[in-house]
């Protein structure tokens, strides 16, 4: 393999790091030399870089995306899109391909947060009473460090299909064969294939739920659990009457966080099915329309819809956090 391409990259990295150090130096210089007596001026300098970047990278683009979602490509004058009002939104809910993605997203959002949170909760209760706790937790938590693409490949390997007469490579089909069934093409047949993709995200998110909930369980005062124990509650009652109410805020945070992440799922679908066989989702469609099919109107409308879906959830979460604080 030839390495002629590599030195220029490393040079760019070098310049990048030098640029970083230069910025640090400049900031330090400004801070030391400038006679900053007033808080206002200090704050201005401290906030300036972040402010500029946020405006260029998030605020202005978000507004432009919103405007673009009312336009469509203009064949006559490619530089100026034409105004089409709500057409893109009408398309989103009426065209079969967009509806399929919306329905799939709905399925993801129903299943992933609920199952991951449940698995995480049960596991954190069990592991709280187990030895080798941190070892088990590390293993359970490990998928969080793996990229969605990596996870996609890992699970494609599990779902791998070989015809009946050959020996199976995928673990799932091997189990099917061991129990006397015929191997299946798990990723080809809708709507079941979406379920098999969903399993991957649950595999990743359950570890996240477990870590947060486990910390919450550890924070339950021992007096409460001891008192309940003295009252002779069963493990089942303990779980529903003591543990679950005590960690309710954490449960909510976990659930909401996973929901938001699930709405934006993209990498798993891309790495496992490429959105084919009826597995596409909202964020994947958004990417395709905006950057592959070159219809920014459709793409941005999907992005705005995603934003609208996320907003009430986050507002609800903020509201809950507020209440928590007032109770304390």
């Amino acid at each position: 393999m030839d390495f002629t391409n590599e030195p220029p990259k490393l040079m760019v990295l070098f310049y990048g790091v030098v640029a970083f150090l230069a910025v640090v130096g400049l900031v330090l210089f400004l801070l030391d030399k400038a006679p900053l007596r007033r808080d206002r001026w200090v704050a201005l300098i401290f906030l300036l870089p972040a402010g500029i970047l946020l405006s260029i990278g998030l605020i202005i683009p978000a507004i432009r995306t919103f405007i673009l979602s009312f336009t469509a490509p203009n064949a006559a004058d490619p530089r100026n899109d034409k105004w089409v009002g709500l057409d893109n939104y009408v398309w989103m809910f009426t065209s079969p391909e967009a509806r399929e993605a919306l329905l799939n997203t709905l399925l993801w959002v129903i299943l992933v947060p609920a199952v991951s949170t449940m698995v995480g909760l049960v596991y954190s209760v069990v592991v709280d009473r187990a030895r080798a706790e941190s070892f088990s937790k590390s293993l359970m938590f490990m998928p969080m460090a793996i990229s969605f693409v990596g996870a996609g490949i890992i699970w494609r390997f599990i779902y791998e299909y070989r015809p009946t007469e050959e020996s199976q490579l995928g673990l799932l089909n091997q189990f099917v064969v061991w129990f006397g069934g015929t191997p299946q093409q798990w990723l080809l047949n809708p709507p079941w294939n979406t379920l098999f993709l969903i399993v991957v995200l649950i595999w990743i998110q359950a570890g996240f739920a477990m870590v947060v909930l486990s910390a919450a369980i550890k924070a339950i005062p021992t007096e409460i659990t001891e008192a309940a124990r003295l009252d002779g509650v069963t493990a089942w009652q303990m779980f529903w009457r003591v543990t679950v109410p005590s960690v309710r805020p954490a449960l909510l945070v976990v659930f909401v966080t996973i929901t938001i992440g699930t709405l934006k799922v993209f990498d798993i679908v891309r790495a496992m099915t490429g959105g084919q066989f009826g597995t596409s989702v909202l964020a994947y469609d958004m990417f395709n329309w905006a950057f592959v099919f070159g219809n920014q109107g459709h793409g941005t409308a999907l992005a705005v819809f995603l934003f609208l879906l996320v907003t009430p959830i986050v507002i609800y979460q903020i509201y809950n956090l507020r209440q928590q604080r007032e109770i304390r």
Partner: protein
């Protein structure tokens, strides 16, 4: 623990020293240990299978499941050799993409760290009118999905800014390895809302007396920021850095759009997703390739897990 009533039955093991330890010991049960270990191992089987497969010779991988490794063990590093350094295009040439991932990641972690800590300090410890509104604004920006800014940001890079036909800012028009710059830029922008929010929470928790004392000693804000606040929030900086590192290294969407798809700038994730699409049955390359991309985050994660968890609990969840 002098007043502990000690009633030792002859055959018990040493009594745990503290009350808490005693409670814990009473609570741990063999069943719970067995269940939790089983599930944890079950959870690891997919990754483990991938790892075992990546070490098996090509013919073995393609003809029998990885669990047969235990009855017919055969280990080779050939797959890694091929996928990293193989010259033909069917191989991954992942070494090159690996370097791209590193080049993308390092500045994308450094710049947000600096800008976020500056902004967080201003929002936590300086007084000016409208401070709370700005903080609220930054907080609210966390809900804006990346998807909202991708299309306009890309056109900002490729076409510049023009208003009413007048070009205000020129296009960046970056070619070849210079494209890294726009990836850094995008990642830095997207990291800010979370980073500022997280670091602000940590900084605001510092004791007010400490800052006041420094002020009384004649230190201005720049001095306080550098010599008092920064050293104290090193753990928070670490957890944010790990978070950002994992996010950037594992990211596919931002890289696809801003780095392009070729060997000169695309990171590992982009290449792997492409291989999964076009060479879905070449398991000897896919398994070793996937493991190449996983190994660095796994090391970082396992060695610095404590900081990562702390960050998670403080609310670092990226939008």
């Amino acid at each position: 623990m002098t007043a502990t009533p000690v009633v030792i039955a002859p055959e018990t093991e040493a009594v745990p020293a503290t009350a808490a330890a005693r409670v814990r010991k009473k609570l741990t049960s063999k069943t719970a240990t067995a269940i939790s270990l089983t599930i944890a191992l079950l959870w690891t089987v997919p990754t483990f299978g991938l790892f075992i497969s990546s070490l098996r010779p090509e013919n073995d991988i393609k003809s029998s499941g990885w669990w047969n490794f235990f009855s017919h063990p055969a280990i080779t590093l050939e797959n890694y050799q091929q996928v990293l350094f193989g010259t033909s295009n069917v191989n991954g040439r992942l070494a090159s993409y690996f370097i791209n991932s590193i080049v993308i990641t390092i500045p994308s972690v450094l710049f947000p760290l600096l800008f976020c800590s500056l902004a967080a300090y201003a929002l936590a410890w300086t007084n000016f009118r409208g401070r709370d509104w700005i903080y609220l604004g930054v907080f609210a920006l966390q809900i804006v999905p990346l998807q909202m800014s991708l299309v306009p940001l890309l056109s900002f890079f490729s076409q510049g800014v023009s208003l009413g036909g007048v070009q205000i800012l020129p296009a960046w028009d970056l070619q070849g390895p210079d494209k890294f710059i726009q990836v850094w830029f995008a990642h830095t922008c997207f990291a800010l809302p979370l980073g500022i929010f997280l670091l602000h929470n940590f900084m605001a928790d510092l004791p007010r007396d400490l800052i006041e004392a420094a002020k009384v000693d004649g230190a201005g804000h720049p001095k306080i920021f550098r010599s008092v606040v920064l050293p104290l929030i090193v753990p928070a900086l670490a957890s944010f850095a790990i978070f950002q590192f994992l996010w950037v290294w594992n990211d596919l969407l931002v890289a696809l759009i801003f780095a392009g798809g070729n060997q000169r700038t695309a990171p590992l994730t982009v290449r792997l997703a492409e291989m999964a699409g076009t060479r879905g049955n070449e398991w000897q390359r896919l398994t070793s390739g996937a493991f190449v991309s996983i190994v660095i985050p796994l090391i970082v994660f396992l060695s610095l897990q404590r900081y990562f968890v702390r960050g998670l609990l403080a609310g670092s969840v990226k939008g």
